[in-house]
């Protein structure tokens, strides 16, 4: 217990750190500025912006901003990137409620009841409950990360290559189960991602694999490049398909009476609690994340509600639960990354990229060797949530006005930002072309109902999986049964197998589809 407090204390110390800034024009005088707080604020604001604007997602933004963090100290860079992820969860809810346009996949379900509430003139309470729920979930998730961090790190140290491999198999299976649509197609996407990750030089022998003597491919396909193509460019091309602007009729009502009534509070408190718990669990699970958490929380609320017909007509629980859940999940998904070094979803995979840029190899050793990095980031999440709560409600008007920017002006800007972003990672024009090619691939995938997210996860885990598989087999002298004879690994494999069987069983598949169909009706 005392450990947790001293760790959090260390974290807050890092967050509130002052850096002496000595600009030349002051002639030697220096001003102390809280750099990390400022970066946290910038991250949270950029995240909110991204969450508000439809047509640009978290994955593309984090990928776009990776090069921007080159010049920052590692702690600051990670604090900012984390802020984008949870900030987006706040921002998405605002536009879902006010104008029925979910800016972020995680808040699609919020629009169902939130917009109805806004139509009834109760936009204020809906926004307030969404913010309060998110903040509460953020606090719980922060504590959870702090509590689980140390023990999980200890567990991770007991992991050998066989266990790591089994854990990653489990993670990929989770990604399949939690993905939308066909199980078979999701698995195919993961394998395609694994295959793509093989491009480049072999880690052990240095042999060039499927690189066709193209020097830029010798180092493998850049992860940020592929992410930007699949999630940035492909998204733009698809939006252009939709044929012009769906006229965004803005219900520009005055948001009056922000305060929820007593009844709202009583109704939404249990929903917030349930959403937080569900979101936290789904966030930790590999393959999970904010999107699935919000869908699941909404379905759960509807299932256990005494009169489910209220949902879709402005039930406040339908706003409280998914909003708490997506925020909780956005934060707890850092747990596997920080303790085990395994990214549970695509955004976390980009965080791995950010850490690698700064020379940090994610994994259990980070928590021991660079505690200020990990705990600083954890503490910043709480501070960031507080800032979002305070700044978000007054800024609602500005965010809504931003939606008036027509897509015909927005998309060329996104194209340019993406292009500059990719180019500046390696100063390589070939990377830009590759990202464009992956944009077309992504467009094709969307047209054929293949989900790009599992592909990206496969691509990140590919090299890690191969390395651990090779190492495990080398240690066991070629004996494949090692994955089943080591107890920890056997348990992980058993869970993975059970999950896969469950996912294919028709009864559970129906349930799983229900969760997603919910949003489309």
């Amino acid at each position: 217990m005392g450990d947790i407090f001293s760790n959090l204390g260390l974290g807050f110390g890092v967050v509130f750190q002052l850096v002496q800034w000595t600009p030349a024009f002051l002639g030697g005088a220096s001003i102390p500025i809280p750099v990390n707080i400022l970066l946290c604020l910038i991250g949270a604001l950029v995240g909110t912006l991204v969450g508000v604007l439809p047509g640009i997602g978290t994955i593309a933004t984090v990928a776009m901003l990776l090069p921007i963090t080159f010049g920052l100290p590692p702690v600051g860079a990670l604090i900012m990137l984390a802020g984008i992820y949870y900030g987006a969860q706040y921002g998405g809810s605002t536009t879902s409620i006010l104008v029925n346009i979910p800016g972020e996949a995680g808040s699609v379900v919020t629009a169902l009841d939130g917009f109805q509430m806004a139509k009834q003139g109760r936009a204020g309470p809906a926004l307030a409950i969404a913010a309060i729920g998110s903040f509460f979930a953020g606090c719980v998730a922060t504590v959870l990360i702090a509590v689980l961090g140390a023990p999980l790190t200890k567990l991770a140290l007991a992991f050998g290559p066989a266990e790591y491999f089994s854990l990653m198999v489990l993670g990929l299976i989770f990604a399949v189960v939690l993905a939308k649509g066909s199980v078979l197609k999701a698995i195919a996407m993961i394998v395609l991602g694994l295959l793509l990750s093989m491009v480049g030089s072999d880690i052990e022998t240095g042999a060039s694999r499927m690189a066709f003597n193209i020097p830029e491919l010798a180092d493998g396909l850049g992860f940020a490049t592929v992410a930007m193509g699949l999630f940035g460019f492909a998204e733009i091309i698809r939006n252009l398909d939709a044929g012009g602007e769906s006229d965004r009729e803005l219900v520009q009502q005055k948001v009056t009476g922000l305060m929820p009534t007593r009844k709202d509070m009583i109704d939404s408190t249990p929903a917030i609690l349930r959403g937080t718990v569900l979101g936290s669990i789904l966030g930790i699970l590999p393959g999970g994340g904010a999107v699935i958490a919000s869908f699941a929380a909404y379905t759960l609320e509807k299932k256990i509600s005494k009169n489910p017909q209220r949902f879709g007509r402005g039930a406040i629980e339908g706003v409280a639960a998914p909003e708490s859940a997506n925020n909780a999940a956005a934060q707890t998904s850092f747990i596997p990354l920080l303790t085990l070094g395994i990214p549970p979803n695509a955004v976390m995979a980009l965080m791995v990229g950010a850490m690698t840029i700064h020379g940090i190899v994610p994994g259990p050793q980070v928590m021991q060797k660079q505690p200020e990095l990990v705990w600083g980031m954890i503490a910043s999440m709480w501070v960031g949530n507080l800032m979002l709560l305070v700044i978000n409600l007054p800024l609602v008007g500005i965010w809504v006005r931003l939606l008036r920017v027509p897509y015909r002006l927005m998309f060329p800007s996104i194209v340019i930002f993406c292009a500059i972003g990719i180019y500046s990672v390696n100063n390589a024009p070939v990377d830009v072309i590759l990202a464009g090619a992956f944009g077309l691939v992504g467009y094709w995938l969307i047209k054929h109902d293949f989900e790009p997210a599992p592909l990206l996860l496969g691509m990140v885990l590919g090299p890690l999986m191969e390395e651990n598989l090779r190492r495990a087999l080398l240690i066991s002298r070629g004996d494949w049964s090692v994955f089943l004879t080591r107890p920890l690994s056997a348990v992980l494999m058993a869970i993975a197998a059970a999950l896969l069987v469950l996912a294919i069983l028709p009864s559970l598949r129906k349930k799983r589809d229900e969760v997603f169909v919910e949003s489309e009706n």
């Binding site: 090069p67 921007i68 010049g71 078979l184 197609k185 698995i187 195919a188 394998v191 395609l192 694994l194 295959l195 093989m198 052990e204 022998t205 042999a207 694999r209 499927m210 066709f212 460019f233 091309i237 698809r238 252009l240 398909d241 012009g244 602007e245 027509p406 015909r408 002006l409 998309f411 060329p412 800007s413 194209v415 340019i416 930002f417 292009a419 500059i420 180019y423 500046s424 100063n427 024009p429 070939v430 830009v432 072309i433 990202a435 464009g436 944009g439 077309l440 467009y443 047209k447 054929h448 109902d449 293949f450 191969e466 598989l469 090779r470 087999l473 080398l474 002298r477 070629g478 004996d479």
Partner: protein, 166 residues
Amino acid sequence: MNATPGQAPVKSVMPKWVRGPQDFVGGIALMAIALFALWASSDLQGMRGFSFGAGTAPRMFGFLLLGLGAAVTAVGVLSEGTHLAKYHWRGPLFVSLAILSFAFTIRPMGMIFAAMTSFMISACGTPETRWMETLIVGACLTAFCALLFPYALGLPLQMLPTFLIR
């Protein structure tokens, strides 16, 4: 599921026995990728005793993808599925052109030129573009980038064309 309402009846180029053209074509493409990968990694060393060679893992995943692609194709043949979606040419074409133009002009011409041209090219991606407005926004955005990247973020991007610098 057969004919999604609102979707224009498309003349199917698929033979009758393909009941889910979307999955059928998707599966075949996956198999093609897998075969290509297997061919591309065929020159790599396989297993040496019990230790992996450079080619072991790519081949493993290649065969796995081949199998999965075949399964997706089979699903497309055996069960009713969605028709092929309609492709549009305008968006993909101009966005790709914009990306290519950026990639080819950034080195010789510098960022200001590259950003501005590819902004204008990608704006062609939608028929709604109004030229005056696009020009102004493009110029503002280019100016913003020219300040943001080198000065605020300290990224070493070349701004002006190479021949001007010399």
